[in-house]
Structures are given as C-alpha cells and as structure tokens.
C-alpha cells in the first residue's frame, strides 16, 4: 500500500491496474480540504498581536487605570532620585543658603565644560537668546518677549550663580529650565554665556598674533569667524 502523500500525484496509465486506485482517488478528495484547514487556519488564527503589545506599559503609554489616562505617574512633590539629593543648594540653584549669588564656578572651567555649555546653550537657550546671546533669537523674532542681551552691562557684571539661578527658577517670561538642564549643565551654560560675553570685550593684546593681524585688516589665511543668522544686531 502506498502512502497518501505520493498518491496525490495522479500518474495516469502507470497507476493502471493497481488495486485500490479508485479508493485512494476518493480519499484524496477528502484530504484536500483537511490539508487546507491544517495549512491555512493556523495562519489566520496566528495573526494576533499579543507579542507585539505585551501586557506592560511603555513610557508615557495610555492607561485606563489612572484618572488622567497616563500610565506614567507624575513624581510626587519632594521626590528625590537616588544620587540627586541636592544638598549643595548653591550648586543646584546658583544661590547659597543665605540667598546670595554664588560667585565662582564649583568646577574647573575648561574647554570640555565650555563645549558642553555651548552644546546645551544652542539647544535650550538660542531659540530666544540667539546663538550670540543678543536676545534676538528666532522665537523672539516671531513675537516672543525679548530677553535682555547677555552683553548688557548688568549681565556682564553678573556672577555665574545668577545665570544658574535663572535657569533653575525661570525669570520674567522665561520658564524654569531645570527639567531640561541638570545642575552641572546649568553651570556649563553659565560658563558659555560668560565666554559669549568675553567674545565682545576681549582686550586685543590677549589675542593671538594671527587674530591680531586679522583685526588689523592684513590679508591672511585666518578662517573667518563663524557668522550667524542673528549676528547683525
């Protein structure tokens, strides 16, 4: 007796005279729908997304469990993440325990800090304060209240803790940027703001020979300073 699998191929004359050929032909007709059922139905049933959407919440996913419809819960006021106690009030806010502006950077001001400061400044501050610190950023040009230029004498005199405090608590129309800027980043930005201020009032004799030559208007190969969109104010 041959198996059903082979018999599904009708070979005509070569099968002639074999006993039971008629019977297997009939069986073949019954096998077809069964095979179809076995072959296709699992595919259809298998099209569920349970593994795609497992019973757990992704960040900020919607949830019907909580009243406001969000799975991620807001932090309870006063929550302190491990390692973020913030005992050093001056470092965290720019104002010390007595409310006095911290006058000096709590870390070494080096190129790494300034680069980090520029990076954060360009992301979070430049939309309003402009990359040059003149307070004519794009959002201001689109109608936001113009902030004081960092080159204003009052701000040139300001100590770094003053800027850190404004970033931490906001000032006038400016919201607090504490959620976006970690304390160390606020100091980095403050350092960069001071670098921006210095860029407009650096004594010429502190410049390198190349730069001084460029200032004097001698034709040199010195690369042009990066011009910026808001640089004409």
């Amino acid at each position: 007796m041959r198996t059903d699998r082979i018999e599904t191929v009708p070979l005509g004359s070569r099968q002639a005279g074999r006993a039971g050929a008629a019977a297997t032909a009939g069986r073949r007709l019954r096998i077809a729908p069964v095979a179809l059922l076995i072959g296709v139905v699992p595919w259809l049933v298998g099209c569920r997304q349970d593994m795609h959407d497992q019973p757990r919440y992704e960040p900020l996913e919607a949830s019907s469990f909580f009243d406001n419809g969000a799975a991620s819960r807001p932090l309870i006021e006063g929550t302190v993440a491990r390692g973020h106690l913030g005992e050093d009030v001056g470092f965290e806010t720019g104002l010390d325990e007595n409310g006095a502006v911290v006058a000096d950077f709590p870390m070494a001001v080096d190129l790494v800090l300034l680069e980090r400061g520029r990076n954060r400044y360009d992301v979070f501050c430049s939309p309003c304060h402009d990359r040059l610190g003149n307070g004519r950023g794009m959002i201001v040009r689109r109608g936001y209240k113009q902030p004081t230029s960092f080159h204003d004498p009052r701000l040139v005199e300001a100590r770094p803790g003053y800027f850190v405090n404004v970033m931490t608590n906001g000032f006038g129309q400016m919201s607090s940027y504490a959620p976006q800027l970690k304390p160390a980043d606020r100091w980095a930005v403050a350092a960069y703001i001071q670098a921006l201020q210095l860029s407009r009032r650096v004594p010429a004799d502190l410049l390198s020979g190349e730069d001084r030559a460029w200032l004097a208007g001698e034709p040199t190969e010195v690369p042009q300073p990066e011009s910026d969109d808001g640089g004409h104010s």
Binding site: P10, S13, A16, G17, H52, L60, G69, P74, P179
Partner: protein, 214 residues
C-alpha cells in the same frame, strides 16, 4: 481494472506540478510584498493626532533642536515626548489665542496629558535604546527620515528586523560625526569616513539575536 484517468490528463498533471511551483512561489512573493508594504508597516502614512503639530515648522523654520523637546534621547532608552509645559515655554506668548492650540492650553491648565498617537512603535519583544545609538553616531534622520520636511509626522522606515540588521551589519553606511547627529540631510564628506568613524566611536555593532531580543 480500467484506467481511472485517460492518457490526456498526463499533460494536466504535469502542468499542475509545474504550475504549483509558481503558485507557491507566488504566494510567498505576495506575502513578502504585503509584509513590506506600507499597508503593513505604516511607512508614509500620516496618523491622526489631536493637534496638527508640524516638525517642519518647529525645526526647519524656527531652528529648534530635536533635543529641545526630546530631552532624554541622549541618555535614555526612550527619546521622550515633551510635557505640555515645554510647549508653553513659547506658546504662553506666541499663538496663545490660537484655536489650534486649545488642546495644549487645556492640558496645561488641567494636567490632563495630550493623547498623541504613537508613530514609531517597535514590537514589545524588541529592546531598543536611543541613548547608545546617539552616543555612537547614528543620526535621527537615519531612522526617522527628513523630519524637517514633514508638516505632519510619519514613518519613513519600516522598522522591520531586516531593516535593523541592514545597518547593524554595516554601520559604516549610516554612522556620522557626533556633531551631526541632529543635522538633517547630512552626507558623508568622503567615502571612507564611515569606516574611520567606526574606529573613532569604538562601534561594535552586534547582530546576535539576544542583542535586541533580550
């Protein structure tokens, strides 16, 4: 016993064997095409959002960095959807009467979150971390497309496994300098830049199953 089938049916049987190959191949091909189609992947499909937020306007026209809103992209698995307070940093003064932003103001007043429709959603059995990709020099554009040209956000990549592997097998095709992560439309400056950046960023791209399915 008489023959059941006439000799002439041999042709049909041979044809059906021959045709069956094409049928099976065709079905497999059809599945492959359907699986990659935007009907299945959602590529190029704009999903309904509660507010018609334009990435095009906010990034290309205003020059706001991706990180201004997606603040956790550099050091977290999740890039972050900004809280309503971030919108209000500007929209407390700008367009603060616009009916289009009524839902934003409502959310800010009540603390009720805005219910955005998620566009880039990986299956839950995939582990993905934004932070490491950004740190190693994969730009936003490589996965999210020219967001700066999208008035309404949509997917430009399938996010299917073959697409992930395409880059994981040859990261030099996508890696960029760390200063260009958020740049849109960046092109390599020279042909072997990718290979050099692989060494520079110490990239050890993994393709084992457990890298993503952990």
């Amino acid at each position: 016993m008489a023959q059941i089938f006439h000799r002439s049916t041999n042709t049909i049987s041979r044809l059906s064997i021959f045709g069956g190959i094409f049928l099976v191949a065709g079905l497999i091909g059809l599945f492959a095409v359907l699986d990659r189609s935007s009907y299945n992947t959602g590529v190029g499909v704009v999903l309904a959002q509660p507010i018609p937020f334009s990435h095009d306007h906010h990034t290309a026209a205003l020059g706001i960095s991706c990180v201004y809103c997606h603040t956790s992209v550099e050091d977290s698995a999740f890039a972050g959807i900004p809280p309503t307070a971030t919108c209000m940093n500007c929209h407390n003064l700008i367009w603060n009467q616009s009916p289009m932003l009524a839902a934003v103001r409502e959310s800010y007043r009540t603390g009720e979150p805005i219910r955005w429709t998620r566009v880039h959603d990986l299956p839950d059995y995939v582990y993905f971390n934004h932070g490491i990709h950004v740190a190693k020099g994969i730009g936003c554009e490589s996965c999210h497309g020219r967001v700066d040209l999208m008035p309404l956000i949509m997917k430009t990549e399938s996010l299917q496994m073959e697409w992930c592997l395409d880059c994981h097998r040859q990261p030099e095709s996508r890696v960029r300098p760390l200063s260009e992560i958020y740049t849109m439309g960046w092109r390599p400056e020279h042909a072997d830049q990718g290979t050099r950046l692989i060494a520079e960023h110490d990239i050890n791209s993994k393709v084992s199953c457990s890298t993503c399915h952990r």
